[in-house]
């Protein structure tokens, strides 16, 4: 008989961020916050790399910047804008909750329970609405009003 592990590893890993169950809105806001955070971090690394090319002189700078003029990079830039808009607004909500705000005070739990997560949910919805407004306005500027 083939030797099998004593315990089967059942940690969800990255799948646990997006899938892995039927949960509330905040869990998906969490996943989006982390994904946008990593996207912004990746952008910063690329940004430092590209601006660092200026050290190679004007020619090097022009060559690198010329490579970013295609439509794909404009879409990429807009994706960074979307990520920053959501990450910044949701970050404010998270900072407020970490300061103990928006969630009420401890109480004796009586069924049906109403958690502090539900108490701050209107703020999450406000964050989503504001982010959507910013993203739509940014999209108009990127592709219609600001287009040459």
């Amino acid at each position: 008989m083939a030797e099998t592990a004593k315990h089967y590893k059942n940690r969800l890993g990255l799948w646990g961020w997006l899938g892995g169950g039927r949960y509330g809105l905040e869990r998906y806001a969490y996943a989006l916050h982390r994904i946008t955070g990593m996207g912004i971090l990746l952008y910063f690394v690329l940004h430092i790399f590209v601006t660092g090319s200026r050290l190679g002189g004007r020619e090097s700078w022009t060559k690198w910047m010329g490579g970013f003029e295609s439509g794909i990079f404009e879409v990429g830039e807009y994706l960074v804008f979307i990520a920053v808009a959501y990450h910044a607004l949701n970050g404010i909500r998270l900072a407020l909750t970490e300061l103990g705000l928006l969630m009420g005070k401890p109480t004796r739990p009586l069924f049906p329970y109403r958690s502090a997560v539900l108490k701050q949910r209107p703020v999450l919805i406000l964050v989503m609405v504001l982010a959507a407004v910013l993203i739509i306005a940014g999209g108009l500027d990127f592709f219609l009003l600001g287009a040459e």
């Binding site: 315990h7 940690r11 961020w17 039927r22 509330g24 970490e98 300061l99 997560v117």
Partner: protein, 274 residues
């Protein structure tokens, strides 16, 4: 018309460490009379179809926390959820995710209890002599009790860690249960162990690893609200670092009640046992 109860399909995860290389799903048809809980269904399977099916359960009334399982996409207590309330004609039962599977629906909770023990889940006092040889009860007002009582209702079922996306990617994260218990004791007016407990709680895998996904509070069967407790713990640390917290002194031993006459018909209290 037949009076026989309608039937429901139970899809149950099976894993035998001596035989199976990986878990598999097995289906059972179970009669579902009104009021059937998921635990009742599993017991019926064990008694009538498959005596090898394994899980943990004890009280059958949502108190012991033994029967937490991943039922229809959410960690729940098998004893406290009726099949009729789950929606759909199928009940899918798996062991709690984020824990190793020992067998079938039995998760390995050892790391969970190790994290619980790590945050020192007991009252810490500077005066050890009073703890060792108590002269009475520590005073606590009703308002001071309300500050932590909801966090003291934890039954250690482990559902919150199964729901937590941070636990899913960081095995060392203390997790919502241990962190909520850290706040339960830190916010207790009788406790003086905030600094000692803080050494465990304010680490790279402690309170600030929580990014408020809220799933722990969503699934908690007792309304403990661990996500709330963790945010209060963070607030406490900010206030402490910014000098907004006075040095905490645990409440004193309550003086004996004097000039007290019991109401008629009320029996006398027992003699002191300590």
């Amino acid at each position: 018309m037949s009076d026989a109860p309608k039937k429901v399909i139970f899809e149950v995860l099976r894993y035998n460490p001596g035989v199976d290389a990986r878990p598999r799903m097995q289906s059972y048809e179970v009669p579902a009379p009104k009021g059937l809980t998921v635990l009742d269904g599993l017991l019926w399977i064990k008694e009538n179809l498959d005596p090898t099916l394994s899980w943990r359960s004890s009280c059958r009334m949502g108190v012991c926390g033994s029967c937490a399982m991943f039922i229809n996409g959410k960690p729940r207590l098998a004893c406290a959820n009726q099949v009729a309330h789950l929606g759909g004609g199928k009940v899918v039962v798996k062991p709690l995710p984020n824990y190793d599977i020992i067998r079938d629906l039995v998760p390995d909770l050892e790391p969970f209890f190790a994290k619980h023990a790590a945050i020192k889940p007991f009252l810490i006092r500077k005066n050890v002599e009073e703890l060792e040889n108590p002269s009475g009860e520590f005073f606590q007002s009703r308002e001071e009790l309300i500050n932590y009582i909801q966090f003291a209702y934890c039954i250690k079922c482990g559902a919150c860690l199964a729901a937590c996306p941070t636990v899913a990617t960081d095995a060392s994260f203390l997790g919502p249960q241990a962190l909520a218990q850290a706040w339960r004791y830190t916010s207790d007016s009788r406790d003086e162990g905030a600094a000692e407990r803080g050494k465990e709680v304010f680490t790279a895998h402690g309170a600030f690893r929580c990014h408020f996904a809220g799933a722990c509070s969503d699934v908690c069967p007792k309304g403990v609200d661990p996500a709330f407790a963790i945010q209060l713990m963070k607030q406490f640390m900010f206030r402490e670092k910014l000098g907004g917290c006075k040095e905490k002194h645990g409440t004193e031993v309550a003086p004996p009640v004097e000039n007290w006459t019991p109401r008629e018909g009320i029996p006398k209290p027992p003699d002191h046992s300590v």
